[in-house]
Symmetry: C2
Subunit: 307 residues, 2 copies
């Protein structure tokens, strides 16, 4: 298998989409050759990873579509990774989104892959890190990672992108200031999509005010109005992404910070990999029967004797 | 110091609030005696930990106030832990909330403590686990943990409570279905607070519909209308909490699942404690200068040689 994955690297570097699809499957499922495939990548940190997140219904996939059309005209090669949260709750919407993107499936400059999010969120981050590194082995200009904003996952994944775009829709209204402080903190660029709807101006103003209040050394977070269905604001968004990435590239620390976070996630997964959730559960079920059960003594003992 | 913390256990079991405050300070700051203090607790899993979360402005502290008045009339002893997210963004609101609760500060049946959330979120969970175990050494009937819903933290903390109440306000409107899937998944009870406001009925109906769609083996998540400022709905909420906790207690697995999660958090912190973020950062800063930098080889090497 080692020879196979070596061959795979050459094909990846040549931009062979079939090889890339095969490589992702190997990494996703940790098939034979998984380790050596990753260990022999060049970490191509010059290719920016752009995260696009936001609640279901914010039109993220339409935005991605519009950005793809824009970048294709500029002769860019783009990879899109769409991360499906495992919640069955969002399944319908995502399926629709995927179908809308199907027009690109045969385009030689666009690679699209949906990633299922099996297992824990912590494991998901590590897996996305592996897959984005793999994708950057191929000659792309941009890697887009689209996630649905459902609680924890988008915060984790945004922490791994060079630039995070948060898409919102007018219905958010006044509430935006209070409700989504978590999402606010990860946004490098805000998009008010479906900006032709009533209340778009209110959301736009609120986000601008918020961006102003929270402006740091890097200045205010841009807020951009788009109507992705007719390409309104897409050029401005593409420029904002390019500007943000270029500014990040000029700050060497930023790249190291991001890599430190990625490495931290990989280490955490490595450190926890020999901890069996089932074994922990079974030993706990037995231990709590005893009158002198103490969680901290149990944990200490488990680490000393059961791992 | 060992003698000191032994003495502390006796005072804790006698319900001495000064000893409890001292114990929390020891655990919070990992002072001398911290380890033995925790290792000598009886894990009093019979005292339910109730999490109350929701966005800033949802009236969580007013709800807590009203619940405290209700439970005091029932001769309950209650501990309240208020977790302040470190984001300066929410500081003003929380300070106000704390002041509103001050009427209870001298009540012998109510213990209130604010916990600062320094450091990482992962570390926060482990710290809250330790502190709730400590608090349960004292003879309380209920431990309330109030957190502001800002992204990741409330999801983590809710995972550690026996019952999680999510408070929302009418402004959430239609959006609730899409925006907050993350929060939805952690709720055992929904509260529509400020139910006298316009749109309260809309939010209530949406939540009911959502609860109905997502009903599992345990039935539908209750949705309760409250006006905490005049105690409307508080008895119903208190009863819903009692009912939920009693039902949980009847399912032995639930308790083991919760303890498994707590233990997992403690193990994760233990496993990561000798990983220096600074060292990782510095070694990465050097490594990425090299042409053949590979994140996975770096991680492997770091774990083998630098830890």
């Amino acid at each position: 298998m080692r020879g196979d994955t070596k061959h795979l690297h050459e094909r990846l570097r040549a931009g062979d989409f079939l090889a890339l699809a095969r490589g992702i499957t190997i990494v996703e499922n940790e098939l034979d050759g998984y380790g050596s495939l990753l260990l022999n990548l060049r970490e191509n940190i010059r290719v920016p990873v752009i995260g696009i997140t936001g609640p279901p219904g914010a039109g993220k996939s339409t935005l991605v579509n519009a950005l793809l059309h824009y970048w294709l005209k500029e002769n860019k090669k783009i990879a899109v990774l769409a991360v499906d949260p495992s919640s069955p709750f969002n399944y319908g919407a995502l399926l629709g989104d995927r179908i809308r993107m199907s027009e690109f499936y045969t385009n030689p400059n666009i690679f699209i892959r949906s990633l299922a999010t099996r297992g824990t969120l912590g494991g998901l981050s590590a897996k996305i890190i592996e897959i984005t590194s793999l994708v950057r082995e191929a000659p792309f200009d941009i890697v887009l990672v689209e996630t649905v904003g459902v609680g924890q996952s988008e915060v984790e994944i945004a922490g791994l992108a060079d630039c995070t775009v948060v898409a919102l829709v007018p219905e958010a209204g006044d509430e935006v200031q209070t409700l989504k402080a978590g999402i606010m903190e990860i946004a490098n660029i805000f998009v008010v999509n479906k900006a032709d709807r009533a209340d778009a101006e209110g959301l736009f103003r609120n986000l601008r005010m918020l961006a102003h209040e929270r402006a740091g050394d890097a200045g205010e977070t841009p807020v951009i109005k788009t109507i992705a269905t007719d390409n309104t604001g897409i050029e401005e968004l593409a420029n904002a992404i390019t500007t943000f990435v270029a500014r990040q590239d000029a700050i060497p620390d930023k790249r190291v910070h991001l890599l430190t976070e990625k490495c931290w996630q990989l280490i955490q997964r490595e450190r926890m990999k020999n901890i069996s959730h089932n074994k922990l559960y079974n030993e706990l079920a037995e231990a709590i029967q005893r009158d002198d059960f103490n969680l901290f003594a149990f944990t200490k003992n488990f680490l000393e004797h059961s791992v």
